[in-house]
């Protein structure tokens, strides 16, 4: 995390009344969506999961937008300015295979078992220990990430618009609070779909003009190859095992660590993502949610990578002591340099919308897990449904206030926050191994889930904080160490699960119906909805199409 408050004067955007009009209209629409969605909330299922009734294109775009928060956009542009075309790995190998796997393989179990959250699946498949552990950790992580998002928003808004940090934190927090409390998940998802299009309208002009300013793709490529070396403009150059590259990772750790463990952990078990698919109207739509999201994901990399690369050309010293600009400033810098009033307002709106959507995705998944998984199962059980809607609204307010608190904390202890974030990120890794073994191995016992989670998290943390940070083995960068820690956590979690399963009782077979590969719950099969048999709605075709397209995208960047 960065705290570039001293950049304020330098990056200040020349906004005028026109830009503020555009921003103001957006805020009005956001609230309007919340108010209009309010009348659709009749049951707790409406509030937490949109009544499982949204069409696939809506949940698919929300799925991608929940990931396309502003920290992701600014961060991936920064990554590109620093590491070059290696950034494509976070998209093509580090997202697409996992998204397709979620849609084709895992979604029938998730959606078909009618669970309302990722932890609830663990409750059905394993036991209360695994359920409570994952619920509490997820809820805590969601609040932390929402707070960090809010803090990042405050820094950027202060630098770009000159608002004091507390104003930005309180205003953004209040809007998110209002529209989620009113309309629940439907309102969060609708705002995410809107944000998706606004952020595209912001990034496309920046990319086009940025490219023009450096002489097109050829000019960009020639300049950077000369200044940073040929590998900077390739995806795989210099990633041989033992060879040196700025990323600090080789092809094996990229494929296994990023492409397999980290990415599958994030995309298939992070409830802030999976929740979008669970709100789809039927199994086919739920399966298509991550698959529809995969196609924009393949191409969005160009809209964040090119601005990052352009910034590396225009400010050769970016990110070093010779320049006031940090890598994270790549996109704001191009906005300031190139965008006239009007489009500038769209870009500011897009960035703010992306920050708010990133926060809202976490808040709307937090309130669901806290209400249905923690409160309704362990604290106040068997109350009427209206009670849980009221509680959901209350906990949304508490969650937003807690993330506002976290944001203020982050502004004074930013190191502690980034440390905590790393810590929570290690929890995703064993989640994936527990899911994958639980879904494919009937014998995995009830207790093995909990111990797999504990062992995997511990192993990843030991590898990162002891072995890497103490320098016991040499890994050249934090990113590289992250990949290796993820692999260590995956292996440890898997080994412990198998070992515990061999010595403890398996779950009775009749309780595993619909949760493990090769089983079906009686009475759960849905007839396909009208029109879902069209060829372009076949999940297998969409999924394999995305994988082939992502692989093909690597070709021009591999030689």
């Amino acid at each position: 995390m960065q705290t570039p408050t001293y950049l304020a004067a330098e990056l200040r955007l020349p906004t005028n009344w026109l830009d503020y009009t555009i921003l103001g209209i957006y805020f009005v629409v956001v609230l309007g969506i919340g108010l209009a969605a309010r009348r659709s909330v009749k049951t707790s299922l409406d509030f937490f999961l949109s009544g499982r009734s949204l069409p696939a294109w809506v949940t698919g775009l929300a799925f991608i937008a929940a990931n396309l928060g502003a920290t992701e956009i600014l961060g991936m542009a920064a990554n590109s300015a620093q590491y070059g075309v290696y950034t494509t790995h976070w998209y093509w190998i580090g997202a697409i295979p996992a998204m397709v796997f979620l849609g084709l393989v895992m979604m029938p179990f998730y959606y078909g078992s009618k669970v309302r959250s990722v932890p609830e699946f663990l409750l059905l498949r394993f036991d209360r220990a695994a359920h409570l552990l994952s619920s509490i950790l997820f809820a805590a992580a969601a609040i932390l990430i929402a707070g960090v998002n809010l803090y990042a928003l405050a820094i950027v808004v202060e630098a770009l618009l000159g608002w004091p940090q507390w104003v930005a934190i309180v205003v953004a927090g209040a809007f998110v609070l209002a529209y989620i409390t009113l309309g629940g998940l439907s309102s969060a998802i609708y705002n995410e779909v809107l944000q998706f299009f606004v952020i595209l309208a912001a990034l496309i002009p920046i990319t086009v003009i940025g490219l023009k300013s450096v002489g097109g793709w050829d000019g960009l490529s020639d300049t950077l190859s000369q200044s940073h070396g040929d590998d900077f403009m390739t995806a795989w150059g210099g990633t041989g095992i033992g060879s040196d590259n700025p990323l600090g990772a080789n092809w094996l750790t990229i494929v296994l660590g990023l492409g397999f463990v980290l990415s599958f952990g994030y995309w298939t078990t992070n409830f802030a993502e999976v929740q979008r698919a669970l709100s789809a109207k039927n199994l086919s739509a739920a399966q298509r949610t991550p698959l529809i999201a995969a196609f924009p994901k393949i191409f969005i990399v160009f809209l964040v990578m090119i601005p990052g690369l352009v910034a590396a050309v225009l400010v050769p010293a970016i990110g070093t002591a010779d320049s006031d600009l940090q890598y994270n400033d790549a996109i704001p810098y191009l906005m300031q340099q190139f965008l006239p009033n009007g489009v500038l307002g769209i870009a500011v709106t897009g960035l703010l919308a992306a920050f708010m959507a990133g926060m809202a995705a976490n808040v709307s998944s937090f309130n669901t897990v806290f209400t249905t998984d923690i409160w309704a199962k362990y604290v106040v059980r068997h109350r009427e449904d209206e009670y849980y809607i009221r509680f959901g609204r209350l906990i949304t307010a508490i969650g937003v206030l807690a993330s506002i608190g976290t944001a203020f904390l982050a502004s004074s202890f930013s190191n502690i926050m980034s440390y905590l974030q790393t810590l929570f990120s290690f929890f995703n890794v064993p989640m994936f191994v527990v899911f994958i073994i639980g879904m494919f191995w009937k014998r995995a016992s009830m207790k093995s889930g909990f111990w797999g989670l504990i062992a995997g998290t511990t192993a990843a943390m030991i590898n990162y904080f002891v072995i890497y940070k103490q320098g016991i083995i040499g890994i050249p960068s934090d990113q590289g160490a992250n990949f290796v820690s993820a692999i260590a956590g995956f292996v440890a979690g898997g080994v412990v699960m198998v070992a515990v399963s061999l010595f403890t009782a398996p779950k009775p077979a009749r309780e595993l119906q619909g949760l493990v590969y090769g089983t079906r719950s009686p009475g759960m099969a849905e007839p396909p909805a009208k029109g879902d048999d069209a060829w372009y709605r076949k999940p297998a075709l969409l999924g394999w199409g995305a994988v082939i397209l992502a692989a093909a995208c690597y070709i021009p960047f591999s030689f």
Partner: protein
């Protein structure tokens, strides 16, 4: 509730809530909002492009970026409204019979 949760209970609970859910019947169609907002933004930004000063155009490397972005947003907005007109919101499903989610 017994020591381990019965998934049948959870599934029954969710199925029961699904039959009472109001989202499908009462939630507005987002295409109208996207269409409306992008038409409005498109018009505003296109006008900014039509009256763009030389300084604006020079800043954007000689491209009248407001004009092009505005037109792009306008077209996107109109496409959403057209889509809504051609394929209107599906009528809400008839009073749900448990297990029957066909329209």
């Amino acid at each position: 509730m017994s020591e381990h949760f019965s998934e049948r209970d959870l599934q029954q609970e969710v199925s029961e809530l699904e039959t009472r859910s109001a989202t499908a019947a009462r939630l507005f169609d987002i295409r109208r909002i996207i269409g409306g907002l992008f038409v409005l933004y498109g018009v505003i930004v296109t006008i900014a492009g039509v009256v763009a000063s030389d300084a604006d155009i020079d800043k954007a490397e000689g491209v009248n970026i407001n004009l092009w972005t505005g037109l792009g947003m306008l077209i996107l907005g109109l496409l959403f409204l057209l889509w809504l007109k051609l394929r209107p919101t599906a009528p809400p499903p008839p009073a749900a019979v448990p297990g029957d989610r066909e329209e």
